[in-house]
Symmetry: C2
Subunit: 342 residues, 2 copies
């Protein structure tokens, strides 16, 4: 029996270049299956555009006047600490051409600064990324709470209890909130590897004490694909679901695909949705988010979504918000000087 | 600010008799509010019978030919380690009159033997209770899995992974199952005070490895009232909800109000539903369970349900399965030699 939590591959056996090459080949093979699924789909009106070459993508961007690019991170730009094929060149080219680029992730573990540092390292592109390109859901949770104008206590403090990482607490403190273990004005839930029954009890009791306290989820992802071997581990949605069940409350989601997030982005950065492309690997978060907010949506096949997921949303009338505008194998298809580099 | 988890009251200040007396008075006061709610309710056809005296209850039992009594435990027969008013006399009288008495609890922490020992101690009635009167949801989970006739492996073992207490594991072993941390044929979830993210990960990975493994919940209670001060703490439903969300699976509930449980009880003990009364303190589990299975249902006001809960189910057409057949303040109203002892 394989171990439940396997170790990363031996570095002597697999280099980052090997891994990137494997991802490149797998995503191109998955694209063949997607092509078959899409071409045999009954409803022509729903069919996404299939991007076969970098030139195809360039034409799509030109024809649709796309000026802004929102990128999901895990599964799109990198997996673990390995960059996706041509991810670095793609980002550098877009920025050098004056396009607006943002990194929009439901991962609430990191501050904006930490996310910037990771991207610079993994994409090997120091000096061109800025902190305000980073739209992590920890940062968004802080901005959302600020927008709610919660009542302050006699010490002029607004108190937030957190289930989540130090990075999430840090972003909330940067937004002006006090982290509290006692009386609260809001409870924020982000993925927490130290989540346990005691934390669940405390959250439930705090919400009972102040039924007016806001209950905010950084995201509702049911699971995350973690590590090189893409283990399927519980996401923040599972923790939120436990708190909701115990408290009888419903959380406000500030992550993808919520409209709270798209309104904040459009408002703060002055973007037009119709000139914006959301690039992601998940149908339920990234693609739904792009479609719901009136953006174009692009799916890559290097993360969660597979050809069979696409087949099932195309069959189901109620899932039409999960059908992407365009599909291509990996983010390198956006890099138009590739010259066969894919 | 009061502490999150308050200590039990000082024994020098509050004796068990004091606590029982407080419960008696509070439940009678709550009954006055219930009476007002029921009498001002618009829909006459739905009105439960309100039991005002022990004689009323005796007549009800006689008129409805009730032979079998299913008792929920926490909130009905005791709270913590304190017996409810006349709980002991009620149980002893029913048994001495030849009625069939069972204890049906969603608490999956104890084996049948442990539950019997607790009841004997709290109700001070050694020698009259038998193990087969104890229908705890740990025992039921084992019986349910047996009824599923799961395939055995080459070692002639059927492997069950457990989120829950030693008592739950013990009941599953008594039913013939191997407790496994690896390959599984079923995953059983009972309330686990040591629940944490790692346990959630393991459960998710095991369910992914064997998509045919049964997923069983001992109950889906959203919360439990715990201790003398009735703290509202997360129930097993919260843990099940986290596992369901992360795995994309739906658990089979073998606790109240599931029909799986009522079928098992009726079948094993040869009871007729129409001659059976389910006595409980929760509308969503006990009363729904009784009503759904064609029994009569009796609500006591010493546990979860309040007059405002009753008001809301009486207003809502979709909640009619939560309206009890009869309501009385506490279990002592079932003891017909009380002579004003209530």
């Amino acid at each position: 029996m394989p171990p439940l939590f396997s170790s990363p591959p031996d570095e002597a056996l697999y280099t980052s270049a090997d891994i990137t090459d494997t991802i490149r080949k797998e995503s191109v093979m998955e694209m063949e299956k997607v092509t078959e699924v899409v071409n045999t789909s009954c409803s022509e009106s729903k069919r996404p555009l299939l991007i076969a070459t970098n030139d195809d993508f360039n034409s799509y961007i030109h024809n649709n006047s796309i000026e802004n690019f929102l990128f999901d991170c895990d599964g799109v730009l990198y997996r673990g600490t390995d960059a996706m094929p041509c991810a670095s060149q793609t980002i550098q080219q877009l920025i050098s051409r004056g396009k607006k680029v943002f990194f929009v992730t439901n991962n609430a573990a990191s501050t904006r600064m930490e996310l910037k540092t990771k991207l610079e390292k993994v994409l090997n592109c120091r000096g061109i990324l800025k902190e305000d390109m980073m739209i992590g859901s920890a940062y968004v949770a802080g901005q959302y709470l600020k927008s709610c104008k919660l009542t302050k206590d006699s010490d002029n403090k607004t108190r937030v209890h957190v289930i989540g990482t130090a990075g999430l607490c840090s972003e909330l403190q940067s937004a002006g909130f006090d982290i509290s273990e006692g009386e609260i004005d809001a409870l924020v839930i982000g993925l927490d590897n130290d989540f346990n029954y005691r934390k669940l009890c405390i959250a439930t009791v705090l919400l009972q004490r102040n039924p007016d306290a806001l209950l905010v989820a950084t995201n509702l992802d049911a699971f995350d694909l973690v590590g090189f071997d893409a283990r399927h581990l519980p996401g923040n949605g599972a923790l939120v679901s436990a708190v909701e069940m115990a408290s009888g409350r419903t959380a406000i989601n500030v992550g993808k695909p919520s409209s709270t997030l798209s309104e904040l982005i459009m408002d703060v950065y002055g973007l037009k949705a119709e000139e914006t492309l959301m690039v992601g690997d998940r149908l339920d978060t990234d693609i739904t988010f792009g479609n719901d907010s009136g953006m174009k949506s692009a799916l890559v096949l290097t993360g969660c979504a597979t050809s069979s997921d696409i087949a099932s949303v195309m069959k189901d009338d109620e899932s039409s918000q999960m059908i992407p505008s365009v599909i291509f194998p990996h983010v390198g298809y956006m890099f138009d000087d590739a010259a066969g580099d894919n």
